[in-house]
Amino acid sequence: MFLTVTTTGTPEHPATDLGHLLHKHPGKAQAFSTSYGTAHVFYREADDLRCTAALLLEVDPVALVRKGRGKGRGGAPDATLAQYVNDRPYAASSLLAVALGGVFSSAMRGVCRARPELPARPRPLRVEIPALPARGGRDLVHRLFAPLGWAVTAEPVALDAEFPEWGESRYVRLVLRSDTVTLAEALRHLYVLLPVLDDAKHYWVSADEVDKLLRAGEGWLPGHPEQKLITSRYLSRRWSLARQATERLELLRLAETDDSEVEEIDNAVAGETATEEDKPAPLAVQRREAIVAALHEAGAARVLDLGCGQGQLVQALLGDTRFTEIVGLDVSVRALAIASRRLRTDRMGERQAARVRLLQGSLVYTDKRLAGYDAAVLSEVIEHVDPERLPALQHAVFGAARPRTVLVTTPNVEYNVRWETLPAGHARHGDHRFEWTREQFRAWAQAVAARHGYTVRIRPVGPDDPEVGPPTQMAVFTLTTAHDTTGTTDTKEAKAA
């Protein structure tokens, strides 16, 4: 909510020229109404040698709440606690950037009617922002500002001096110094880069944001080494936040009930791990190919994808007409929404649409809708279930749904040493409740098969390393007895009766 701009000068080129450049008189304190509260401009010092202008935004919390409401606004999702207890009134957030753009619009454009020669002339500038939210850390702050001709000092701000173990906050105290940057450029840098560094939860992005970015970025953004990051962060929030606001409210409230952050529970659609991202195509594709091949071998036409996530496998199965009915089931409503978008279910022809269904469900409950299918696939699913709840899953899949064929894939933890980017002892995904060795998986699979009347074979997926095995292991379960519920001894007797 606060920043200062300081310049130094000489009697010939007095520092107070800053007042002309900013179109704000150094002898006055002025207030401007903005959409998020009142912006105050005043000068801490103003003489020929040194002049410091300050912008202080008094955020109106009610305005913040109001702006945040409603679909597509990109504000805080719903009326959540985050709205009332947040850093907006203190941090140099994107709101400050909006105020900056409003209060200093002429200065940003480099227009000065009284002294037209001033704006183009670089002068010593010092910008200080005592509480700058910096997603990406001090390193990113350097990478963003240094290429623009700034000498950057970014000091960490501790979360709480009484609890040093909590570490640093996401804020830095930023000081920028330059003798080459003009004031107009400086303001445009801040206008774009403050929101980029902010984690943007409360930023209302309007439809003409692209134009604003092009205007403010003119002259410096095209050549910036981080141009891609700047552009994508600046613009990407628009739709993703709008979506957040409509989709995760119930989960968010449940997180609040537990005094925890929503990310802790609304993480079903987190990206894959760093490791798998390195080689996303090969392993994920190999897994799908192995699954499809095993389904063909089993002669399966009606297939359940249990824990379908974002629907990649469902999509692959849809492309193969031998699969006449595909059901994707997931517990995450958000994942299903993404799967539905991926499959474009709203535009699907009737014939295609009849082949596929997406259902919310849970594998720790039995589910009558899942009975009578040829095959079920649980691809990278079991490791997301707490071990003590696996028996319930086993019962629901092998005991109740009881398809002829069940395919289960799961990571082989032994292979983790081959992922170069994965720190030793780390799981491949933050939500993995366990990762098994080949022996553990085999033992589990055999016990399940024995208990429920299946036979099982284990297959490698991906390169089968002679030492540590494949990255993914797959179990193919086959029901041993006919899937026929009539005609047994007992019922024959009954009929004869």
Binding site: R44, Y90, Y171, R253, I265, K368, D490
Partner: protein
């Protein structure tokens, strides 16, 4: 039940029609079916094809709409039959194909198909049609064809599957006929017992006599008029089948017993009728033993077996007895399928390693309201599962003969004298369902639902909220068997009118006074996180009562997540509680081997550290970083004579508010290491074995808790400070306010005011809020933001609406009470889980999170 020949006696024909059946009227157009239906059945029981034709085409006579019309007719009839309602189909039904569809429908719903044929001369039909303007031009050949087809049908109506066929010939007989409603044989709902239901006897006469004696029968008669109910399989395998049959048949004949058939009776019955059956599974023994009996006795046995009814619905529909178990949709139904299921049960189609069919675990799916008591599958121990009980404890294999007293629900058994017969496979080591096989079904929680509660009627759960709860329950919650309760949310006190306060106890006391609550208890809030602890006396209790292998209980949050990530730490905390309960003698005093405790776990930072860092500390850090510079700049400007006075003062106030905010959250934080630094303040025992303590007054609750804390040697358990207030006494109210002011003045979180009686209703019968929280001014800072005390903010915040929060609190409270009651009653897991899940779902309703 055969076609009764016409006999033109004076009172007219009596047509017995079963109370639950599909009645098919058969007759040509104009034969008077609609008139007959109107006269003998309720208007809503009758569905006519003409009416359905009208529904789909606006024209009752549009024959081209017949196909759609019959679809509608079958659909409606199906819905009625599924709901257990007799249905009369008023269509010509002269064609076999039309009738076959109706018979299939009756079979699909396991009800009796009954035909009533109206055989009227062609002239009469023609005259009636001619009299109707809409049918005047009906060709004569249509009527002729109908009558031709009807006559042809008459011979084989029974063979088609009609279980009763009434043929009425001529107008006079039709007019004089009377329909009499008959009950189904299996409907004994009017009998209320009390009953003693006895498991599979299998010829173990001595054990049967011993059990009857233990139950109090003297020579087959109970002095208190109890009725024995046998679940079948009296015969085969054992040493004295004739003795058992003689006893049971005599008791049934004299009205002191009921008996349903088992598969073994059924097979022996077929043998007696001369059918060819394999003398396996112990039948050979029965045949040999019966050889020694008289032919007369054998005929009696044959008649007895022939007359057995597959299952009985007893005691107002609360109890169903059959041999092999029965899903709810078959209760009170009559079909070959129902009989077969009642005798043999369902099988999965597999055979096990001993070559015997694998039984389908129907009881795991059972969700019915009636208790189903059955036998058939030998189990080591009779155990309730989803309101079903298998009483076959394998006496003939050397197990026990078991009886259930109803409605007492007590088990009585006697041991076998010896192993009379070697089992083909070992007795199952687990009860049906087993320990990891008490699955919950998605149908019990998913989608839009309403949960019936005993304290607040039906509580609705919306689909979106259930979807969110499903996600959290599936991905993050602990094993539902260890999650028998979730605490409800609590409403704050009505917004205060006292200057400078958003919340103040005066309004809370006043609210309870208005609700008719004279005495309340104020309990300090602990500045921790809510935690529920299920503490079992040992792992064996956890296994036997809750079905889990390993843990001795659970410690979980308000959304059912494990409080700690470390099972060992959980066990340590449970261990503390257990030791304290041991030393305080609570197990014996409360006659229980488990406790369900509601508690507060400190520090808050233990659970909420993520939130603290990301949100609270972050706000403090940003404010701490920004104000020194901003204030210095303003002071600099002021020193230059610039008028920034208002602005500067405001920023100084804001800076000190931010500092107060940081101080406020810091009170909730201290470092912990394992159990070190962790404190637990239990404040209520929610339930113990067989009892919900939701209605135990809070003073007695706190006395129990105090003893628990007193006997804790570790110092980890903490008591809850409290003050009792009489809401109608000014002095007492003032003392309550002072107490609160003193606590919150030191930065305390505040207090919860509860009616002393715990579970209290208003005079109008409405549930009173079980607690109202009054939070301290400083602790509200971390809820409403650092600057909430600014007069303009406070004025705005006072506009808050409590309505939804209060309604939510009551609905969740009712669901919580329901979960506790179901738990205490030993109801099946799915019933407890349904209520618990409801609480979680409601928690995702949109309510102002600051309340």
């Amino acid at each position: 039940m055969t076609e009764t020949e016409t006999a033109t006696t004076a009172p007219g024909r009596v047509l017995p029609v079963t109370d639950l059946s599909l009645v098919v009227l058969v007759g040509a157009t104009g034969s008077g079916k609609s008139t007959f239906a109107r006269r003998h059945f309720k208007p809503t029981e009758v569905i006519s094809s003409d009416f359905c034709r009208g529904l789909v085409s606006d024209d009752e006579n549009d024959q081209s709409a017949s196909r759609d019309a019959f679809d509608v007719l079958h659909y409606i009839a199906g819905k009625r039959l599924a709901a257990g309602r007799r249905t009369v189909v008023d269509a010509t039904s002269v064609q076999q194909d039309a009738r076959r569809q109706l018979i299939d429908l009756a079979r699909a719903h396991d009800v009796l198909p009954i035909a009533i044929v109206l055989d009227v001369p062609e002239e009469v039909c023609a005259a009636r049609n001619a009299a109707r303007t809409d049918r005047a031009d009906l060709p004569r050949r249509v009527i002729q064809r109908h009558i031709r087809e009807l006559r042809r049908s008459l011979r084989h109506l029974e063979r088609e599957g009609f279980r009763k066929v009434h043929v009425l010939r001529g107008v006079e007989e039709i007019d004089r006929a009377r329909v009499v409603t008959e009950k189904r044989f299996n409907d004994l709902t009017h009998l209320t017992g009390p009953f003693d239901i006895i498991g599979d006897v299998h010829g173990c006469s001595a054990e049967l006599e011993a059990l009857l004696g233990k139950l109090g029968y003297v020579d087959g008669v109970h002095p208190e008029g109890r009725t024995a109910v046998f679940v079948g399989d009296l015969v085969d395998r054992g040493p004295d089948t004739p003795g058992v049959l003689r006893r049971v048949m005599a008791m049934v004949r004299s009205g002191h017993a009921l008996c349903v058939p088992g598969n073994h009776e059924n097979k022996y019955g077929r043998y007696l009728k001369g059918r060819k059956v394999q003398p396996t599974h112990g039948l050979a023994e029965t045949i040999a033993q019966m050889e020694g009996e008289s032919e007369e006795f054998r005929q009696e046995v044959r008649a007895f077996i022939d007359g057995l009814v597959s299952h009985y619905v007893l005691d107002g529909g609360r109890l169903v007895v059959c041999h092999a178990g029965l899903p709810e949709k078959y209760h009170g139904r009559t079909s070959g399928r129902v009989r077969s299921h009642a005798l043999y049960g369902d099988t999965t189609g597999e055979t096990d390693e001993f070559g015997l069919p694998v039984r389908y675990p129907w009881a795991e799916d059972y969700r019915g309201r009636a208790a189903v008591v059955y036998g058939h599958t030998p189990v080591p121990q009779a155990t309730w599962l989803n309101n079903t009980l298998c009483l076959d404890t394998g006496v003939v294999f050397g197990g026990r003969l078991t009886a259930l007293r109803w409605p007492e629900r007590e088990l009585v058994d006697v041991p076998a004298e010896r192993v009379w017969y070697e089992p083909a496979r070992p007795l199952r080591t687990e009860a049906p369902g087993g320990h990891d096989g008490r699955p919950l079904d998605l149908g019990d929680v998913h989608g839009r639902r309403s949960v019936e509660t005993r304290h607040a009627g039906r509580v609705a759960v919306r689909e979106d909220n259930a979807a969110a709860a499903l996600e959290v329950m599936s991905r993050f919650a602990i094993d539902p068997r260890l999650l028998p309760y979730l605490p409800p949310t609590m409403a704050p006190t009505p917004t205060s009118r006292v200057e400078g306060y958003l919340e103040h106890p005066l309004e809370a006391f006043e609210q309870y006074r208005q609700d008719g609550v004279a005495r309340v208890v104020c309990e300090e809030k602990h500045m921790g996180s809510r935690a529920v602890a299920l503490v079992c006396r040992d792992a064996e209790v956890a296994r036997d009562r809750f079905g889990v292998e390993g843990p001795t209980g659970s410690l979980y949050t308000r959304t059912g997540r494990s409080f700690t990530d470390d099972p060992a730490l959980t066990e340590q905390i449970l261990g503390r509680l257990r030791t304290a309960a041991d030393d305080a003698g609570l197990w014996a005093e409360l006659d229980t081997d488990w406790l369900l405790l509601d508690a507060e776990l400190m520090p808050w930072s233990l659970k909420a550290s993520g939130l603290l860092r990301a949100q609270y500390a972050a706000v403090g850090a940003a404010a701490g970083a920004v104000f020194p510079g901003a204030l210095a700049a303003l002071e600099g400007a002021a020193a230059r004579g610039i008028d920034v006075t208002g602005l500067l003062d405001r920023q100084r106030e804001r800076a000190s508010a931010a500092a107060a905010f940081t101080a406020a959250y810091r009170r909730y934080c201290w470092p912990t290491d394992g159990l070190d630094g962790v404190r637990l303040a239990p404040f209520q025992i929610r339930a113990v074995q067989g009892r919900s303590l939701a209605g135990l007054p809070h003073d007695r609750q706190l006395a129990l808790i105090d003893r628990l804390v007193e006997h804790d040697g570790s110092g980890r358990l903490q008591t809850t400070r409290r003050l009792y207030v009489d809401t109608g006494e000014a002095e007492s109210v003032r003392a309550g306010v002072d107490w609160w002011l003193e606590m919150t003045g030191r930065g305390g979180e505040g207090m919860v005011v509860k009616p002393l009686g715990a579970l209290v209703r208003t005079e109008q019968g409405r549930l009173v809020q079980p607690g109202i929280k009054c939070r301290g001014g400083e602790s509200l800072r971390i809820i409403y933001g650092p600057e909430y005390t600014r007069p303009d903010h406070l004025a705005r915040l006072r506009q808050r609406s409590l309505h939804h929060k209060r309604s939510l609190a009551i609905r969740e409270y009712a669901l919580g009470l329901e979960a506790l009651a179901r738990l205490a009653d030993g109801e099946p897991l799915w019933r407890v889980h349904e209520a618990v899940f409801g609480v979680l779902a409601l928690e995702s309703e949109p309510v102002d999170p600051r309340l």
